[in-house]
Symmetry: C2
Subunit: 244 residues, 2 copies
């Protein structure tokens, strides 16, 4: 059976998932495109595959066939993919390992996606998002992670609670600041064994309160004309150094 | 005098600058927000400042006062800034220095902006864009550069012509590939003295033809699960290593 009416209640419910409010209410979200559907399937996150009529689907799961118009309406993309999936959110609460990235108030979905991808590349074991970060299940974030969000625990936790956890577990907390900072490349192996790197908001950086709780500040040497790097780039370079 | 009509020809002409076609035709573009206006002013690029009525402007240049509705219509942002500027494009044709970044078919405006910002941070002297890159004067690119586009020569040139220039000037050309690649951190100082780093398109990377012209390939060691980094991140890490 192929769903053809844009007014169908199922379609309306899927369209609403573009809004965080409905993702939160239902505990579900959408992934778009074959690659992300495959990653979500391997991870066991899929409730239903949504596919263009007549498309052969090899996954063993519930499938909803729809028209191109419906895909267009559900998708966040200008050129909608021929396959999407409705997924259930994962409830991670446990911090795993002692190589941690803590993101405090990151607002740009592209930046968050990029940092998740780089985290996996350079050996981060848990990513912590403060509650005021952009929603992990925002379609642009999911696209930016290139599916890597399914390969690493990502939890939402208050920044100060997270820092308290690090102090209790003797994990050094690194902020980023040139003032009183240590050049990232000069860290010794033992200083890179365990870490919690904190990256702050794109515009305002870390608050004074959070800075006061950091054990050290790291910095990346650069041309004086440049005030700062893109936060996704800065984070990735620091994780690259911490992972070496 | 304050311009109040959305139907005014000047307003219509400014709105059209959101499209590349009209930026090309007129040789002009817009920058948005006080910081970018200041950078453009210092660089001598401004033809006219466009500001919200009653806003005090300290710049010595032509000023067009407009209503909030007009700013909203001209701006590419959801929350329009209270100051914008009409700027004239710069015609750079000369390659300066021997630390070059060559971008071949970069499509995402955010990625291009990020790479321009990182180039300046890590000592690149000229950025070359292939003709099929996203337009440098796209509003999102300009925002992503944070004004750094005014501090470095950026020229448009065919990729193969650019590589020919490098060969003639004995500047080694570095592609990016794990296969037959050199770990970026293992480059010696003399291998970093002069370089032309090429980064390829987000989806397809470098063409075989371009690869064949590279003197070496560089790579960034990473977790096997991750197929690739975001191109802006990969570029920035390589420039960080080349700049050390």
């Amino acid at each position: 059976m192929v769903l053809t009416s844009l007014e169908n209640d199922k379609v309306k419910a899927l369209v609403r998932l573009q809004q965080k409010k409905y993702r939160d209410e239902t505990g579900t979200y959408l992934v778009e495109g074959e690659h992300l559907v495959e990653e979500a399937y391997k991870h066991g996150s899929i409730l239903q595959v949504i596919a263009l009529e007549n498309m052969p689907i090899s996954y063993d799961c519930d499938i909803l066939y729809v028209t191109e118009d419906i895909l267009k309406k559900i998708s966040s993309l200008e050129n909608p993919p021929s396959m999407m999936a409705l997924c259930k959110k994962e409830e991670n609460h446990e911090i795993v390992g002692d190589k941690i990235l803590l993101l405090d108030g990151i607002q740009d979905p592209g930046n968050l996606g990029t940092m998740i991808r780089s985290s996996l590349a350079f050996g981060v074991q848990t990513i912590i998002l403060s509650p005021n970060c952009v929603d992990l299940y925002n379609p642009k974030v999911i696209r930016g992670t290139q599916g890597m969000m399914f390969h690493i625990p990502i939890i939402v936790m208050d920044t100060k609670d997270a820092i308290t956890y690090m102090k209790q577990h003797h994990i050094p907390v690194y902020g980023t600041n040139v003032v009183n900072g240590v050049e990232a490349s000069s860290l010794t192996s033992s200083e890179k064994e365990k870490y919690c790197l904190i990256m702050g908001n794109e515009g305002s950086g870390l608050s004074d309160e959070v800075f006061a709780l950091c054990d050290r500040n790291l910095y990346i040497p650069m041309n004086e004309q440049v005030e700062s790097l893109n936060v996704g780039v800065a984070c990735s370079i620091l994780l690259y150094e911490l992972g070496r």
